[in-house]
């Protein structure tokens, strides 16, 4: 299979904070509703109205992969993701400690770590997020979208400047 190189692209400003992503994640992976089992979590600053979905970045140089003492974590280049092999994992939680995003969870019921596996290429959080706060796009498109957004701001500023100038004259 050709490497897809798709990533979860999160636009926090679009998030409505509804946490459907957490619900569908836990139902899809574990057959239960339990936000504590979700691979994605909406971190909130409620008194400011800020909602930030956080999930695994599937790092190229993944700290979890590097730190794992028994090499239970590997990269799956087909889906551009980092995977845990629970047959090898000893449950030491080094990966949980080292992840800079808090994306490696540890489930106290099953006593196992868990992380986003991109639902094998059809991320449910993306599928159910109507406002597209979570999207699944080719890695190179994330930067293009950001470029466009920034460019829009610049053109708006330019238009304002021109309008001011014509007012002055």
């Amino acid at each position: 299979m050709e490497p897809m190189g798709k990533v979860l692209a999160i636009s926090p400003e679009k998030c409505t904070g509804c946490r459907l992503c957490e619900l569908v994640c836990s139902v899809f992976h574990d057959g239960v509703s339990n936000a504590a089992r979700s691979r994605i979590k909406v971190v909130k600053w409620e008194s400011e109205g800020l909602y930030i979905p956080m999930s695994c970045q599937q790092c190229q140089d993944a700290p979890c992969l590097i730190v794992c003492p028994v090499k239970a974590i590997s990269r799956d280049e087909n889906l551009s993701r980092v995977m845990v092999n629970h047959n090898i994992c000893i449950g030491c939680r080094s990966c949980v400690t080292v992840c800079p995003f808090g994306a490696m969870g540890f489930n106290v019921i099953d006593r196992k770590n868990f992380k986003c596996d991109l639902c094998d290429g059809d991320p449910q959080c993306v599928r159910f997020c109507e406002v597209k706060a979570v999207d699944y796009v080719d890695a190179d498109r994330v930067a293009v979208a950001k470029k466009k957004a920034a460019a829009e701001k610049i053109t708006a500023a330019q238009r304002q400047a021109m309008a001011l100038e014509s007012e002055v004259h």
Partner: protein, 646 residues
């Protein structure tokens, strides 16, 4: 699974806590949420109990589908005898509390007694603890919530709290969760305050097993498409409920100056688009938030743009705040709207009741029934923004003669004010009406007159009656799951066929409240949204429970009858102006002064109204006095109530 969530009985007087399972046969009879709450209230509230006394049980619940995949299962329900009108007290709110309660192992809490000192409940993973709340007493609704999180060291805790209004036993104090999700109606916050209960904090990480996960996911996807494809929900998702106030105002269906006008003129600043602009300017282009799992996201976010509260964050304002702080008191300033909304959120009082009661006082002031003596010098004329906001504070803290009097709610206040003040009070069963005017819409008038918790639009309002749907479309909706071949009319000013619509919606909304989902996800504002036919699958996939559309209808009818039985036990009499299924005389005697050509000059016809009530009673299986016939109780399996199954 959802069906193994438990019920907890908490006695605040003795500190005793009992946790029990909810038997399947009880589930099949009452499902959960509001329906099961109604059963519990009838069984646990002694007849004629003091609403603010220890014997009044406060019941808190999620629905049977709470936290499962049913498009949006956010709703929390609170029930008790109402301190406002002495009848059924019931409030329903969005947010994130009920799902957290379900993850903590519970669907229903029955809270009895009264704590000696301020306390709060801490519910985590199957365990319940009564904790000291001395440090929380006096705090606003958000201060209290954040303080609990800090104390217990967990930002994911969700709490149901009261603010100063609830502590001060303001009879229309609400219970709140989050920034603005309010269980607003019927004074449930005062009941909580009377028990010295400041908050219920929940945190859970217990699995709720989904019976058929794959099917539940796929069906949920389909459900969401059905719900978000409705134009009305798309507009809700951009403008929130202010869009409804704006639209209703355009044809003359809102209430202004207490009941003097049915349309607000020259109010550009508070039109939905203007509110939306203010939200966008202060919060950016994406300023809509959603309750748990909901893709409608109708809750706006804003910062107050101007004045002494500039920069303060809040959410909303909703239709009710527009009515409360604009239309009713005849104020037209965006700042007043946003500040008023913020004050009631922080104080924990019902915006609807607050705006209505102040506007009533304003009319009394202009009529000379209230004078500067009673208002302590406050110039309580319509259109006085400062007096309006000052009055909100005085009610919350019971300051001054009028503040303290209005805090008692309309019925008691009218007795204290005396003269003919009661004639001007727009209420049913002691509960103020939504800031809407139903004189041109008999179906809606019938709805508010007969609603179980008093004047209310969320119990049985056939809101789609305003859309002038073709009769064959209406027939399709209203002939299922129970056949109906009687008359139907597309005309909103008509009286025929309306009782059946009210009956149908009453059962539809009860079912929704038993499931724990939002009314924007059923046939409330959108004619194409899911109802009885769609629910069996979603119930089955999520809980494993098998029910037919007709069985769900029967549950709803049974639960509505439980509420009726409660109201009858508390003294409901058909034409009683304070406790009956009756409207204020102004609906019949004062024609509307403004609005579209088919709206202006209308009153409700007394005789036709009576006939509508007769007909509705017939559908409900009640006699002419509104009392259930023995065969009706038998049919619904309620002939032995109270039956103490739980």
């Amino acid at each position: 699974m959802a069906l193994n969530r438990k019920i907890a009985y908490i006695d605040l007087t003795t500190g005793k806590i009992d946790i029990k399972p909810i038997p399947l046969d009880v589930r099949r009879k009452f499902l959960g949420g509001r329906g099961l709450d109604a059963y519990l209230l009838y069984n646990y509230a002694p007849k004629g109990c003091d609403p603010l006394g220890p014997e009044n049980p406060l019941i808190v619940s999620g629905g049977i589908l709470t936290a499962t995949l049913a498009s949006a299962t956010a709703r929390t329900h609170v029930m008790a005898k109402s301190p406002l009108g002495g009848m059924l007290g019931s409030a329903n709110m969005g947010g994130f509390f009920a799902p957290e309660l379900a993850w903590a192992g519970f669907h229903h809490l029955v809270i009895k007694g009264k704590a000696e000192k301020p306390v709060y409940l801490w519910i985590k993973n199957g365990k319940i603890e009564i904790r000291d709340a001395k440090h929380l007493w006096g705090k606003t609704t958000t201060e209290a919530q954040w303080a609990i999180r800090e104390e217990l060291g967990d930002d994911d805790i969700k709490s149901l709290v009261i603010g100063p209004a609830g502590e001060n036993l303001v009879r229309f104090a609400n219970v709140m969760t989050g920034i603005k999700n309010s269980g607003g109606r019927t004074g449930m916050g005062a009941v909580m305050g009377s028990k010295n209960l400041k908050a219920i904090a929940a945190r859970g990480t217990m699995d709720i097993k989904i019976a058929y996960p794959k099917e539940a996911l796929e069906f949920n996807k389909r459900f969401i498409e059905q719900i978000t494809s409705a134009k009305v929900n798309q507009t809700q998702g951009t403008l929130g409920t202010p869009f409804i106030w704006g639209a209703t105002n355009s044809w003359g269906g809102v209430r202004c100056r207490n009941f003097q006008y049915n349309q607000e003129l020259y109010c550009d600043e508070i039109e939905p688009e203007a509110i939306d602009d203010a939200c966008a300017e202060t919060m950016g282009p994406y300023h809509m938030a959603g309750c748990f799992g909901c893709q409608v996201h109708c809750r706006a976010q804003y910062k107050i743009p101007t004045g002494p509260y500039a920069g303060v964050y809040d959410e909303g304002p909703e239709y009710t705040s527009q009515g409360a702080f604009c239309g009713e008191p005849d104020c037209r300033s965006l700042e007043t709207l946003l500040v008023g909304n913020h004050l009631v959120d922080q104080f924990g009082m019902d915006n609807l009741e607050t705006g209505s009661i102040i506007s009533w006082a304003m009319e009394l002031y202009e009529l000379g029934i209230l004078t500067n003596k009673e208002t302590d010098g406050l110039d309580l004329r319509f259109g006085n923004d400062e007096a309006l906001l000052e009055m909100v504070k005085r009610i919350c803290f019971r300051e001054g003669w009028l503040g303290n009097t209005l805090a008692e709610g309309g019925i008691i206040a009218s007795e204290k004010i005396g003269k003919n003040s009661f004639d001007y009070l727009i209420q049913v069963k002691g509960v103020s009406n939504l800031h809407s005017d139903e004189r041109a819409t008999p179906a809606l008038a019938l709805n508010i007159a007969t609603a179980s918790r008093g004047s209310d639009h969320l119990r049985s309002r056939p809101a789609i009656d305003l859309y002038h749907l073709p009769v064959d479309v209406m027939r399709k909706i209203y002939s299922s799951p129970v056949p109906y071949d009687g008359p139907l009319s597309s005309e909103h000013t008509e009286y025929i066929g309306k009782p059946w619509q009210v009956f149908w919606h009453e059962n539809c909304y009860m079912a929704v409240d038993c499931l724990g989902i939002c009314k924007y996800h059923t046939t409330f504002l959108g004619a194409t949204l899911p109802n009885f036919e769609d629910w069996p699958k979603v119930i089955h996939y999520n809980t494993g429970l098998e029910l037919t559309p007709r069985e769900i209808w029967d549950v709803a009818e049974r639960c509505n009858m439980m509420e009726r039985l409660f109201n009858l036990r508390e003294g409901l009499q058909r034409e009683d102006l304070k406790k009956g299924d009756m409207l204020n005389h102004r609906y019949f005697d004062e024609p509307t002064r403004r609005g579209a050509p088919d709206v202006v000059g209308r009153v409700i016809d007394r005789e036709k109204f009576k006939k509508m009530v007769d007909e509705l009673y017939e559908y409900k299986g009640l006699d002419k006095n509104g009392v259930p016939k023995p065969e009706t109780l038998k049919r619904l399996g309620l002939e032995k109530e109270p039956s103490h199954l739980l």
